[in-house]
Amino acid sequence: MSFLSFNFALFLGLALLLFHLAPARWRPGLLLGFSYAFYLSWSFIYTVLLAAVTAGVYATALWIEGRRTERGKHAWMAAGVMTLLILLFAFKSADWFFHEFFSPLGRADSNNAALVVVPLGLSYYVFKMVGYILDVYWETLPAQRNFVSLALYGAFFPQIVSGPIQRAQSFFDQIDKIKSPDAGEFVIGLRRILFGLVKKVAIADRLAVLVENVHAKPAGFSSLELLVGAYCYSIELYTDFSAITDIAIGIGLLFGVKGPENFDLPYYSPNIQVFWRRWHMSLTTWLADYLFTPLRMSLRNLGTAGLCLAIFINMVAIGIWHGQTWTFLAFGIVNGIFLVVSVLTLKQRNHFFKGRPRLSRVREFAAPLLTFHLVVLTHIFFRAGTLDSALQYIAGLIPGWERSAIPALRLDLWSLGISAPALLLCAGAFLASEAVTWAMRRQFWIDWFRATPVLFRRALYYALIAAVLLLFQGTGTFIYAGF
């Protein structure tokens, strides 16, 4: 059941009605029921798996807390975390394993991939549960006694498809809010859903056609067209992913739960470190806490080499978290290299610019531009079907690198599969959505919007709803729902 389907709209409407009519003390249990119903609509057997994982984690956390010795606590923590990671790795790598080792030998064909379907939202609920176990082990959070609260945390339907990865503490702190949701937050939630829908249909889905065309056959396009395609993919990925995050956060608010943010205007980052602090924040902060910090601590005796290794492993983990493919591995490695170089040279760069005010002013706008282009380059690996086609795409970006009859500066929108007005609409909508994102985090603009006449706000909402209905092309999937 996709968030962009009639069935989901019906499900959400019914769930909201029953939830808000129910007595306060029933609401968490009811929400858990809706979450399992949502999951059940996708697969019965994997719903059983989700329940089994939850039960196992519930018991493991209590056992960790109950052990008197550090050794006993550590053993239960390691057993719990390892089991979850093996489960995640086994499902995520099964498809790759069959293709790499069996297909060339003829023991299986590509249809084998269908035999091993990754459970919906596995990455997200496994990461939530691993974080919870480690929090209990580190004694930053007591083990949850209420099974419904833990089960709801793992299965919460707005977040299970593609996050955001909420921390256990933050979720448990809001259980009381689920019992009596705030009316103001309900309205904010509706607005947030609408914002996400607009981004999805007016920007991401429009650009998807162009991106599909250039990545299907990079050799058929000029350097300029490939560059436009690369920019468009970075914008598509960002708007598509931030759209599903907006919708997830918005739906959560309808039930009284505020989820964590995933983005903070990442494409205006002065360096690649800052970019990774503002992009997919719920995953990167999770990895920083539960992977990078323990790894960096254990490698600290290696000095700078330990720092580089920890960064590199972290970035490769981010890459292959998306899927066990060579392109995602390359995405992780390239990001690892960029990040290591940036971390090791940042102090020197800051020193260089300190005594040069004119150059510093140039740096202010040149640095985000350079960072954006580095990110665009890494996204080519992220999007490409194979490593070969990614390298072919990058080679095609450099005029004259490969012999081609196509002029390097040709810009044929017809062959790209988009009209000039549609491209302009996307660009305008993207700039407007970024301005709204920026303003949403500033109290002055929030107050300004609240002070506008009701008629203006209603007209705006109706216009946006109409735009969503008119522009909706029937796409029901989101890029990050696949991870």
């Binding site: 004694e139 806490d289 910090t293 600290r300």
Partner: protein, 80 residues
């Protein structure tokens, strides 16, 4: 070492690491208050503190630090 002594020495570690000779820290200071104090710099800071005070922390201890005040308390426990 007393709390003010640790605070004074810790300030020098912060100033050197974050390359800011005027940086002031208090017990309530957190990563959000210091420019450049991100997850990468966090363990680098811990390593610098370990070196400056001749002590060692566990990952579990590092994970429970809430602010500079709790770091000072942890240092005080170790240097006794």
């Amino acid at each position: 070492m007393t709390h003010p002594e640790i605070h004074q020495k810790l300030t020098l570690v912060f100033r050197d690491l974050f390359d800011d000779p005027t940086l002031e820290i208090s017990d309530a200071t957190t990563a959000k208050d210091v420019a450049g104090w991100d997850s990468i710099m966090h363990v680098t800071l811990i390593v610098a503190v370990e070196k400056a005070f001749g002590i060692s922390f566990t990952t579990k201890e590092v994970k429970t630090l809430a602010n500079v005040g709790s770091l000072i308390q942890l240092i005080a426990k170790r240097v006794k």
